[in-house]
Symmetry: D3
Subunit: 249 residues, 6 copies
C-alpha cells in the first residue's frame, strides 16, 4: 500500500488491524556518472519500497527524494539538503506519522551520504519524543536498511559486475534505474572504462579525483534485466529485514 | 525533461543552451476526504509539472511531496513539515540548484496550506543569497503558481462541478488523481453529499467542522475523464505563465 | 486598552471578564518612496489597532514594528527580519500570551510582505502547541486582517486617489501617517508623478524597476484629512471583522 | 531623528553627512507591580532615546518592545521572546542597518533581563559579519547603556526614593512612565509598602517570592514630576556616553 | 566527586542522599597573551571546581572547554562557539542532568565573554522547561560564579600584582595555570611590560588595540606559588557561595 | 602538543612550519555499566589523542566531552547533546580553527553514538564553507577514527577478553580508563557475568534490555595493565592513520 494512494480511512484501518509499521524510502538527487540518472538513489529506494509494499501489504510513505549530497555539488543538477535540514525533515515526517499511531519506521535508503543524517535524525526523534511527552512518550522505533547492503544483493552484484561495482554510480544501481525507467536509458561512452576508486573529502575534492562522477565502477555494463534481478533480490532480502524489525520484541 | 531522469552532463547542456529555468512541483501528503488520496496535492503538482516539462522541454525538479499540513493532523496518514522546516527545504533546494547556474525557479503548487511557507522561503532565499554573496549574488527569481488558480481551470471546474467544487478534497483534484492513478480510484459513499463549507483554525477545529475531511465539496462527482481535461487545461495555462516568467526582463 | 499601558492585574481582570482576545498590530520598517515614512506600515497598523481598542475596549498588544522587508533592502533605512526570525517572534509572542489564557489573536497588518511569514507562523504556533501540550493544548485561534483589504477602505482609496493608489508607498498609507504624525509631513517633488507599476523579485530587482521606491502610486496626493477618513473607515471595518472573529463558534 | 519618521532619502543623507551611528531602544513587555505599566521598560527606553535623538540629531531606530522576560511569565500580560529569538531579532536588525552603512549601534536598554541576550547578540553579529564577509567585513561596533546605570540617575533615584528604589517595578521607572503617559497613572494601594528584596530563579520562584511583582521597591511614591527629572538626567547622561561611543577611535 | 569518574550507580546514590546539586565548570579556549595558555580559562574553572568537589563531596560535571571567544579570533589557536551554539550546549547539558533529578546547577566560569551566553542559556532552560512540562516542570535553579569575582580573590590579586592585574591574560589566571600545569610554564619576554588597558569591539578591533593579546596586565609576574594561593582563595570563597546556593529556600 | 597548553604564538609557529593538521578528541558522558566510568568515552579519546600528540608533535584540541547519548538517558548521570547541537558544536570548532589556517581535522572518537553526528557535521562544515566563501573556500578535510576500530586494538581485545568484549561498557574501554585513572577503579560485582548482547532503540528500550547498562560485555575483567597495552596499540595504530591522512594528496 502506498500512503499517497490511500484515503485517510484506509490508513486508519491499516493502523487498527496490523503492525503500526511503515516503510520510508529515502534517496538523493545527485550526479551518477556519465550514464547514471540524477535520481538514481531516490528511484532505487522507491521501487524497492514499493515492491515490498506490494508484496506484503506494508504501508509505504512518499519518498524523500532530495538527501544529503553536499559532496556532489560540483556536478550540474545535484541537489542537497544541509544535514541539519535533512534531520529536521526526517524528524517532522516521523513525528507526524507517530501522531496517528505509527510506531515502527523502516527507512529504505538509496544513498550512502544520507546515513549519518538519518541515524542522527533517529536520535533527534527520540530526544524530542522524550522531551515533549516524558513518561507518556510512545515507544517509537526506527531502522535503516541501505538497499545494497545485504548478502543477496552483494552476491548478485559481484556475479554480474565482478570487480567493477565500485562505490558510486555503480552498474547495479544504474541497472536498477534502467529497469524502472527503460525510456531513460543513456548510451554514453566513458573513459577510462573503470573509474578510479578511493575516498574523497568535499565537493571540489570529489570532482578532482573523480572527474566524471563515478567511483571505482563501470556502469557501462548496466542492463535493465540485471536491474530486475537486483530489484527482486533487494526486495526479498529487505522484506525479510522489515519483517524481523516489526516482529522484534 | 525530468531532472531525476537526466545525467549531470545533460543538465549542464540544458543550462548552456537555454533559459536557466526549472519547474519545482510541490504538494502535500494529507487527508483528502472519503475518496481523495492522501497524495492528492503532490500528485496534481507532479503530473502538471511533468506535462509542461514534456511539452516544452523545461526541466522538472523532483516533487516536494510532504508540505505544510499541520491543520490536517487529526486525520490518519497526514504528514506535515513545520513551516520552518519547509522553508529550510525550499531554501536548500533553490540554493543548490543556483550553485549550478539555475536562476529561475517556478513552483507549481498543489496545496493552499503551502503558500505562506513557499512565499516566506523565497525571501529567505533572497536574504541568504544577499548575505552570503553580497554584490556578487546572482539574480535569482522565484515564482509560484497554484495549479487551480487560473482562468482555464476555474472555468472548467465550474462547468464540471457547478457549486460543489468546494475548497478541500475538491472533485477537480480528485478527478485529476483518478486520471493519473486509475488503479487507485475509490468508491466510497459520503454524506452529506456536499460537505459543509467555511474556514477553520487548528487541526482539532478542522476535524470538528469537517468530520470527513472535505470542505464544501462533492468529490463523489470526480471522474478520471474530467481529470484529464483539468490536467490539460492546467498544463496549458501554467505553461503560459511559466513562459512569461522566463521571458520577463 | 493598550497592553503596554495596563498593569498585570488589569490584564488579569480583562481575561476574567471577557473574550480572551487581543489585537496584534504588525508593520514594517522600510522605505516608502519620496515622501512616505520608513515607519509607514508600523504606524498604520498601530493607529488602527489603537483606534479599535479605544472604541470597543479590546486589548492591544505592542506593535511588531520590524517585519519582513528583504525586498526593500536597497533603500537606506529599511530594516528586515528574515522570515524565519519573524516567524519565531510571532510564535513567541502568541505562545507567551497563550500562557496567560489569551485564546484569540487578531493580527492587524500594515505590510503585504509580512503576510506569508504571519500565516506560516500561525501554523508554527499550532504545531508547537500540539507538540508540547498534546490533548491538553488550548484551542488557539489566529486571524489576519490587512488594513487596506476591506470594502470600505478600497472604496475610499478609489474615490480619493482614482487610478493612482498603486501598491507600495500609496497615497492612502501616506495620508494615514500624515494624519497620525502631522509634524512629519514631507514636501518632496517626485517624477514621474505616477510611479510605474508591476511586480518584482529581490531587492536589486525592486530598485531597478522602482528607482524611487514607489509602485504604481502618486503619494504626492496624500493629505492628513484623507488619512483621517481612511483611518476611520479601516477601524470601523476591521472592528467588525474582529467582532466576528471573537464571536465565531 | 526617528527612523520611522524619515524618508529613505533622509536616511541616506544622514549617512552621508555624519557619524554612521544609530540609537536602538530596547525594552520589555512584562508586569511591573501593582501600579507599574506592562510596557514600563519599553516606554523608558523609548522616551529616553527619543529625547537624545531630539536633542542632538541622532537617528533613533524603532523600539524593540518585547524582550526577554521568561521570569515574569506567572503574571498576566507579560510577553517574552526566548533568548535565542531575541538574539536573532537583534542580529537581523543590526545586520540590516549595516547593509546601508550604519556602523555604530548604541542600544538604550530598559530591562535588566535583556542584558545577556543583547550582549550575546553583539557577538552573534560579529561572528556572522566575519563569516559572511571575511576580510571585507565592515567594522561594526555595538554598545549597551542601561538607562538606570549612570551616576546621574543613581543619585537622583536615591534622593527621590531613599532606600526604596528596589530593583524591579521601581519608583523611578514608574515615575518616568507617569511622565510619559499621564493618562495611564494608576492609583493602587499596595502592601507591604516596600516590597521584599532579593534574587529569584524561574517564573514560579519569582511569583512565590514577590507575589505582587515588585522587588524591594515602593512605587507608590512615583510621581510624573519625578519622572521628568529622571528622564532629563538619563537623557543628558546617556547622550554623553553616546557621544563618546561615536567619537571613540 | 567528578561525574566523569563515577559510575551511574554512584550518581544515583548521590542524588538519593543529598542536595541534587552539581558544579558546572565552563571556560574558553582562546589566546591569553605572550605567556598565557590558550586553555587558561577552562583550566582555571576546572581546577577550582575540582578543588571544591574534592573538599565537600559535590558532584562536578565535565568542563565545557570551548566558550564564546569571537573577539579573540584574530589570534591563532582561539576557538569559539557562536553564542547561539553555546546556549544550546548549556541548555542540553542542564536539561539532560535535570532528567535524572538534578535541580541546582552552579556554573563556575573562567571567561568573561561567556557570561551573556550563560545567563541567556539559563532563561532558555527555564523557557523550555516550562514549555515542555507546564505545571509539572521541576524547580530548576542555575547560578553563575566567575572565579575572579569575589572579595578573597580580588584582595589577593591586588596584593600580588598591584596595579597590573588588568582584565585579560592577567597574572592571576596565568599563575593559576602555572600551578596546575607547571610543565607548561612559558618564559617569554613581553613589551611593554604592562599592556594597554581599555575596552574593545570585534576581533579585529581587539587585535589592533592589544597586539599581543593582553589587556592592562603584566603576566610576566605570574608564579605557580601565587597560583596555588589564588586557587585556594577562589575555592574557599566559591565553595561558600555554592553552599548558600544549595541551602537557599 | 596540547592546544590548551600552548600560547597563541606557539600555535602560529606550528601552523607556519608544518602540516596544518589537528587531532580532535571527542567522547561522551554516559553510563558505562556497573564498574565503568561515566566519562569512559571522553577519557579514552583524550588519552589516546594526547599520546599521539606527545609522540609525534601533533596539535591536540580540547576534548569534546559531552556527545550524543540520547539512548543512555535512563541511567543517572548520562548527559547528551541533541544531534543538532552536537553538529553545531563540531561545525563551530572546525570553522574557528579553519580561520587560523588549520586544514586537516582528525577526530579521535570514543563513542559509537557520536558517529552519525560527527559525519553529518563534516558535511555541514563543507556546506557552510562553500556557502560563505564560494570559490575562495579553503580545502578543508575532516576524518574520523573510532579508537576501537583498527586491527591492532581488535586483535588485542580478542586476546585479552575472548568472547566477552561486547559492544558497550567493554572490558577494553574500562581497562583503558583504569590505566588512566587508577584512583577511580571500581570494584563492583555484576550479574550475569556477561551481559546480554543485541541492539536497542530509544533510552527506555535500552534500559529494558540492558538493565545494568552493559551490552554483551564482561567488564569485571578490566585491568589497568590491559588498559596500558590497549592505549599503546590504539595510539600506534591511529597515529599511522593520522600520518596517512595528513600525507594524503
Ligand atoms: Ni547512488
Ligand atoms: Ni488538495
Ligand atoms: Ni506600506
Ligand atoms: Ni523595568
Ligand atoms: Ni582568561
Ligand atoms: Ni564507551
Amino acid at each position: 500500500m502506498q500512503l499517497q494512494l490511500c484515503t485517510w480511512a484506509e490508513v486508519e484501518a491499516y493502523l487498527h488491524k496490523g503492525p503500526k509499521a511503515i516503510l520510508m524510502p529515502i534517496g538523493s538527487t545527485e550526479q551518477h556518472g556519465p550514464n547514471g540518472l540524477i535520481g538514481t538513489d531516490a528511484i532505487c529506494a522507491e521501487v524497492i519500497a514499493k515492491a515490498i509494499g506490494a508484496a506484503d501489504g506494508a504501508m509505504v510513505a512518499p519518498t524523500i527524494a532530495v538527501g544529503m549530497a553536499v559532496h556532489h555539488m560540483e556536478f550540474a543538477g545535484s541537489m542537497t539538503l544541509r544535514p541539519s535540514t535533512l534531520i529536521a525533515v526526517i524528524r517532522d515526517c516521523v513525528m507526524s506519522l507517530a501522531e496517528h499511531g505509527f510506531e515502527r519506521f523502516f527507512f529504505i535508503n538509496g544513498h550512502g551520504g544520507n546515513i549519518p543524517s538519518i541515524r542522527a535524525a533517529f536520535y533527534e526523534v527520540h530526544a524530542e519524543n522524550r522531551a515533549c511527552r516524558g513518561g507518556n512518550a510512545p515507544d517509537l522505533r526506527c531502522a535503516l536498511a541501505n538497499w545494497w547492503e545485504n548478502e543477496a544483493v552483494g552476491r548478485l552484484s559481484k556475479e554480474l559486475f565482478p570487480g567493477v561495482e565500485g562505490s558510486h554510480a555503480t552498474p547495479s544501481e544504474v541497472s536498477l534505474t534502467q529497469y524502472a525507467y527503460p525510456e531513460a536509458i543513456k548510451h554514453v561512452s566513458m573513459s577510462p572504462q573503470v573509474a578510479p576508486g578511493g575516498g574523497f573529502h568535499d565537493a571540489r575534492d570529489f570532482r578532482r579525483r573523480f572527474p566524471d562522477g563515478r567511483i571505482g565502477s563501470d556502469p557501462s555494463l548496466a542492463r535493465p534485466e540485471h536491474g530486475q534481478r537486483l530489484l527482486e533480490a533487494a526486495a526479498r532480502s529487505i522484506a525479510g529485514q522489515f519483517k524481523e524489525f516489526v516482529a522484534e520484541a
